[in-house]
């Protein structure tokens, strides 16, 4: 187990380096003058350009720039924006909001998706199955931003049961509707995945054995069936947490949530490379660690899986 974790952690290193390097090139190795339009209508004063070139090592080749950046990053320094704001402070302000939003989304999609999937998987074809199938199709077909707008208009402006935008505190209660919008697409996938998985395992031998030895239905479904059908669903949910944190750009924009997605989107538009790379570094680390955690969880769910 310990050796497995160590090996996996070592395998994460090249992926981490690759992803961050890719983003670094995309953000910093822009053809043309990086200072175009940065100081409003007039060109930037030469002192400013010189200072910034010095600060971000823009005279070096991209590889050297990246290595220098990683060097300071590993000592815990995310660098500063052009306005000399520390990037780590911006991220630590935005990250809790995005984390809450992602958690709300994952919890909603897990509860609704798994319930719908289990019910339809157990019952087989029928009215409920068709209902869930059609609703998942509709959720997949309508883009998130349209769902977000409709939710905002109907719930926020017309029925006035909630604020159309989320306050800067972003409490759990305020994040329920945005979380629902954010998780709606994955909810559809979760329920389909659960349904397929349950339907496949329903006819497995261990189910027949459990039934034959007279176990109550609750226990057969709750312990035997759910546990064996959980792996694909949990894998999906795990990959989703990482995606939801960074993929919340649209949802955070609609509901005016000051999270990571908003931060990075503004950073891209303002050419604040330090913010973009810093956020991506954090997101990639989260994504990789969550995936590792999910892999380790497999053995807990299914003892037949062993790591060596």
């Amino acid at each position: 187990m310990g050796r497995y974790v160590l090996r996996r952690l070592l395998q994460l290193v090249p992926v981490f380096v690759g992803t961050t390097f890719l983003i670094y090139i995309l953000v910093w190795a822009v053809p043309g003058n990086p200072f175009t339009g940065m100081c409003g209508e007039r060109p930037c004063p030469p002192e400013f350009v010189a200072a910034m070139t010095e600060k971000y090592n823009l005279d070096d080749s991209v590889v050297v720039q990246y290595l220098k950046y990683m060097g300071t990053l590993l000592s815990g320094d995310f660098g500063q924006t052009y306005a000399e704001q520390p990037v780590s402070e911006l991220i630590s302000n935005a990250a809790p909001v995005s984390l809450r939003l992602a958690l709300v989304a994952v919890v909603i999609e897990a509860i609704i998706g798994i319930t719908a999937g289990v019910l339809t998987g157990l019952r087989g074809r029928g009215f409920l199955d068709n209902l869930v199938l059609v609703s998942t199709l509709v959720l997949i077909a309508i883009p998130t931003f349209v769902i977000g707008f409709v939710a905002q208009i109907v719930l926020g402006f017309q029925l006035e049961i909630l604020n159309p935008t989320v306050s800067s505190d972003a409490t759990w209660g305020e994040l329920i509707v945005p979380g629902f919008v954010l998780g709606s697409l994955s909810m559809a996938y979760v329920s389909r995945l659960t349904r397929t998985s349950i339907a496949e395992n329903k006819r497995a031998d261990y189910m027949r054995t459990a039934l034959a030895k007279g176990q109550p239905k609750r226990r057969i479904v709750g312990v035997h069936l759910l546990r064996n059908s959980a792996i694909p669903v949990i894998t999906f949910l795990g990959t989703d947490i990482g995606n939801l944190m960074g993929g919340a750009i649209v949802t955070e924009g609609i509901f005016d949530i000051h999270g990571v997605g908003r931060l990075v989107y503004d950073g891209i538009l303002d050419k604040q490379g330090a913010i973009v790379v810093g956020v991506v570094v954090v997101l990639v680390v989260v994504f990789l660690l969550v995936n590792l955690f999910i892999d380790l969880l497999y053995a807990v769910i299914d003892p037949r899986i062993r790591y060596e």
Partner: protein, 318 residues
Amino acid sequence: MSDPTTAAAGTATDAAAYVTAPEHVTSGPGKPRSLWSDAWRDLRHRPLFLIAGAIIVLLVVIALFPGLFTSADPIHKDLDHFREGPSADAWFGYDGQGRDVFARVVHGTRWTLLVGVAATVLTVLVGGLFGILAGYVGGWLDALISRVGEVFFGLPFVLGAVVILNLVRNAEIRGALPIVFAVVASIAALSWPVAMRIMRSAAIAAKQQDYVRAARGLGASPARVIFRHLLPNCLAPVLVYGTIALGAFISAEATLSFLGIGLRDPVVSWGVMISDARTYIRIAPHMLLFPAGFLAVTVLAFVMLGDAIREALDPKLR
């Protein structure tokens, strides 16, 4: 085996089996049907497939011949009709600059479908090629391709696309086709690992089969084994992914256009229209609802088609 004529003859029979067999399902009763003709028989009786197919055919006709459906000019501005609701003149009303929404929806179909189809083809080609190589060759090549795939897979989709397209925008690319190509390329760059993984696992499974061993034992070159034996047997899962992904990519294009970094003028697409409509959403909802409705129906059709094909190709689900 090495005789070119027999190889060519083999291609001919196989091409017939894979391409035209579905159209000749009434062939003799003793003849075993291939997976594809079996799937086609099954599909023809599925209402889901028929509905989805009809919608897609209609959309393709709209995309190819928009003039059949509207005579209005999608870029003609008539400020007299500014944000006017639906009427007999303009079924879907007018937008914020007095352009006919119906005409724009009809003319936008072409670009929306083009982005979806092109992104899918590119994703499936790149991902499929790398996947089949990784699965068949294995070893260090597999490790390398898988790691590179993970690098791209680790980037959240919207974030990665925004970064790439912002780069393109800063490079001042103009003209309809270059913009479309940039959007297509960025979608494919972030999605190919999924197709790669599907193809890779299919190839690993197929590699163990006896017919592959037989072909190798007879001295077939790796290229021949890959393209003649492995590929036809690994195609099904990737094609199913491709059909569903087509819907998802159309939706992704709309999202990117909505964020203001995807397609833009002079290209008319549903995403661009929805993006234009967002500021007027409370006073002129028709500007949003019609393109969004078309978008939803299109995505729905492709996802339904993919579902139907998957069920038809996978006998376990029957």
